[in-house]
């Protein structure tokens, strides 16, 4: 059965590495639902969070093929219940619909969304949550006219307690012993 998996990839900071990562998916014709990449808590180590829908058997093989890449330090895969994850969404709406007492303002409050910026023409609202939550706000704001909308890829923290710092330290001590 295909299920949603979140793959966390820890890499060295190197030009072109994202390409090496996506190639592993492309060659199996697997669509990447979302991808987020940024520096991790360890300096010069980057963390990619990739969401795909696949059979676990395939995901396992992908993770091994990711780890096989020289500059990939570690890769892990998790089901949704094994991680805490969020996305961020930004909504640009006409400012006048948010005027006091109007329906739109109630919706923003009900969704615990935040107003980031108010301009005479438009207002930018931010909502952090899981896709269903950011989508729910989108659906409710839509009748008022959404001028622009953007949603980030998923970022995720895993529930197991082993830290990246510990993993990196272990790997570094191994090569120093050689």
């Amino acid at each position: 059965m295909k299920r949603r998996y979140t793959i966390s990839v820890f890499t060295e900071d190197m030009v072109g590495l994202l390409n090496r990562v996506t190639i592993i998916f492309t060659r199996r014709k697997i669509n990447i639902h979302s991808i987020a990449a940024s520096e991790s808590e360890v300096p010069n180590v980057h963390r990619y969070t990739i969401v795909i829908e696949e059979h676990e058997d395939t995901v396992k093989k992908i993770v091994l093929q990711l780890e096989k890449q020289v500059e990939i330090i570690k890769a892990f895969y998790h089901l949704d219940e094994e991680i805490v994850y969020q996305e961020i969404a930004l909504y640009k709406v006409p400012t006048d619909v948010l005027a006091a007492g109007k329906e739109a303002e109630k919706i923003v409050r009900a969704h615990y969304a935040r107003v980031l910026s108010v301009e005479s023409q438009f207002t930018v609202i931010e909502k952090t949550g899981q896709k269903e939550e950011t989508q729910a706000l989108f659906n409710e704001l839509k009748p008022f006219g959404i001028l622009e909308f953007v949603r980030s890829g998923r970022i995720a923290i895993t529930k197991p307690m082993r830290t990246l710092t510990a993993i990196v330290e272990e790997l570094e001590s191994e090569i120093k012993q050689n």
Binding site: G16, K61, K68
Partner: protein, 577 residues
């Protein structure tokens, strides 16, 4: 050398001297022990060629006639010697012409360092003359690649390239160097890589797993070993032999593992796969414990996976974690270097003979001999067979030659019938099946082993894919012995058309030129054989020559290679006719 620790890399460094980036490339190659490289010059790599001119006495550059030839020659060298093959090309078309050879090296785990020139760094991304994104293009087919835009990056990039190419499961790497980086001056230091935190070339042996493997093997009534190139790559030939001899296990090889065990060894039960031997294919589905050593269960070896060795417990000795359970589910996986694993395992297995099990192989071997082998090696028909040519080569070389093959029917015949008494004696394009591989690969093999006879066995199709490398043979005076088995067909495709496409021979008939005349044009001695009576004397004449020699044998046009496991069939459904 002093050891330096960066954040993510540990390496040793020698004191510095000032030189250009191009000189640094050449110096780094020499520092890595390179004395031979294959390549083709062009605009963006000219500074490096200029630097090579100064070190011709120490670093022999062989000018191939096409960049693809340079990669295959470097592969042939690497496969014959176990050292890293090096090739060099210019940017743009020079770089893209390397790709086939790099892909071949990637799938066949061949250590290769490829150096390409690139346009000036300020022109990157501008569609400059002969600019191509070779780092992007080669990414799916390299173990690692890197673009150098500053001269100071060169020493470390080259050292890292060699370290990655040769360590763990070997593979091809590519270093792309912009022309301005080749001109720029730098303070050169020799680097020697000890490790990267993101890269574990091989796992530490897990003795618990070794013990579990030994337990399965000791309880087995019908154990069966499959071995691949891992045995050759880890120089585990002796350890392997000691293991199978102690445990008394019949052993079959993938074409990449050929020659790791003497052809005539009593436990060598032959070749696996689509055109492999009858017994090992059939009995894969009868064994109770299957022990795979340094092989990757390629689909040409396994046939239909859903009916592959389902009755057996599977033990997999493998260096690459990504190969475990990739195609065949393993009961016990022993990760690590094949030699280390075999040495440890041999200590734990019981002495055994498995005579009645071995006799089952012998029985099927006789069936195959009667139905296929006899007529292939000693044909009753007037037409010459590829098999009898291989038999004659075996006789005349006493199994001491390095046999290099191209791809197709002749390849399967050569793999099936060549006899080996030395390791690293079969060089063939296994995973990628690259026609045109043979002629340049044979050049590299001969240069790596000048004292061994190198016989290139090629079909008339593949010969014409890299025929221009005759020029390399002539210019470099490399005494390669070339045997073209000419059936005036693209034989393997024709065989499939015969068996599976109602004999509709779409574009498989070859109208060939007069090869004798062409080869003579390169001043290489030639001989043509049409009659059986001439075969042995012709092979002897070829082998007795101290120079390169071209032997063309006109063989039967529409012969098929058997046995055969048709696509989609199980290995035990192997057909003898």
């Amino acid at each position: 050398m002093k050891t330096v620790e960066l954040q993510n890399e540990v390496f040793a460094q020698k004191p510095t001297q000032t030189m250009s980036g191009a000189q640094a490339v050449v110096q780094a190659l020499i520092d890595e022990g390179t004395d031979l490289l294959f390549g083709y010059p062009g605009g963006a790599i000219m500074p490096v060629y200029d630097a090579l001119y100064d070190v011709e006495d120490r670093l022999n550059h062989v000018l191939t006639r096409h960049e693809q030839g340079a990669t295959h020659a470097a592969q042939g060298y690497a496969r014959a010697t176990g050292k890293v093959g090096v090739c060099i090309a210019t940017s743009g078309p020079g770089a893209t012409n390397l790709i086939t050879g790099i892909a071949d090296a990637q799938i066949d785990s061949t250590p290769l360092v490829c150096i390409t020139g690139q346009v000036h760094s300020h022109l990157l991304g501008t569609d400059a003359f002969q600019e191509t994104d070779v780092v992007g293009i080669s990414m799916p087919v390299t173990k690692w690649n890197f673009q150098v835009t500053k001269a100071e990056e060169i020493p470390m990039a080259i050292a890292k390239a060699f370290y990655i190419a040769r360590s763990g499961r070997p593979g091809p790497v590519l270093v792309d160097i912009t022309k301005d980086a080749q001109f720029e001056q730098l303070e050169y230091s020799q680097y020697s890589f000890k490790g990267l935190r993101s890269y574990q070339p091989k796992s530490k042996l897990n003795m618990q797993k070794v013990a579990e493997a030994a337990e399965l093997i000791n309880a087995a009534k019908k154990p069966f070993v499959l071995f691949g190139q891992g045995v050759l790559l880890s120089q585990a030939e002796e350890a392997f032999k000691a293991f199978i001899e102690k445990a008394g296990i019949p052993s079959a090889w993938t074409i990449m593992g050929a020659s790791a065990l003497d052809s005539d060894h009593y436990l060598n039960v032959g070749m696996l796969g689509m055109h492999g031997n009858y017994a090992p294919n059939k009995l894969t589905n009868e064994c109770d414990v299957l022990i795979a050593v340094g092989m990757r269960f390629d689909d040409r070896v396994t046939g239909d996976l859903s009916r592959y060795a389902k009755q057996a417990k599977v033990v997999h000795l493998e260096i690459d974690p990504a190969e475990i359970d990739k195609n065949v589910k393993t009961d016990v996986a022993v990760l690590g270097d094949a030699k280390e694993a075999l040495l440890a395992l041999t200590g734990l297995v019981d002495e055994n003979k498995h005579e009645s099990w071995l006799a089952e192989f012998r029985k099927l071997e006789q069936e195959e001999f009667a139905m296929v082998v006899k007529d292939e090696l000693t044909p009753s028909s007037k037409e010459l067979t590829m098999g009898e040519v291989m038999r004659t080569i075996n006789q005349c070389t006493d199994g001491q030659a390095i046999v290099v093959t191209d791809v197709g029917q002749h390849q399967m015949i050569a793999c099936r019938y060549a006899k080996f008494k030395q390791s690293k004696s079969l060089i063939t394009s296994g995973g990628l099946g690259t026609m045109g591989f043979c002629l340049p690969a044979a050049i590299g093999a001969k240069m790596g082993h000048p004292n061994r006879e190198v016989v290139a066995v090629i079909g008339d199709g593949g010969f014409q894919m890299t025929i221009q490398e005759l020029g390399t043979i002539f210019q470099s005076k490399t005494p390669v012995k070339i045997v073209v088995l000419n059936n005036e067909f693209l034989g393997m495709v024709r065989q499939w058309q015969d068996l599976f496409f109602d004999k509709r021979y779409a574009s498989t008939t070859m109208v060939n030129p007069d090869f004798q005349t062409i080869v003579k044009g390169y001043h290489i001695q030639t001989r043509e054989v049409r009659e059986r009576s001439e075969l042995e004397s012709a092979v002897k004449e070829m082998l007795n020559s101290t120079e390169s020699f071209f032997l063309e044998v006109k063989v039967g046009r529409e012969k098929n290679v058997f046995p055969m496991v048709p696509t989609g069939a199980s290995v035990s459904e192997i057909r003898l006719k």
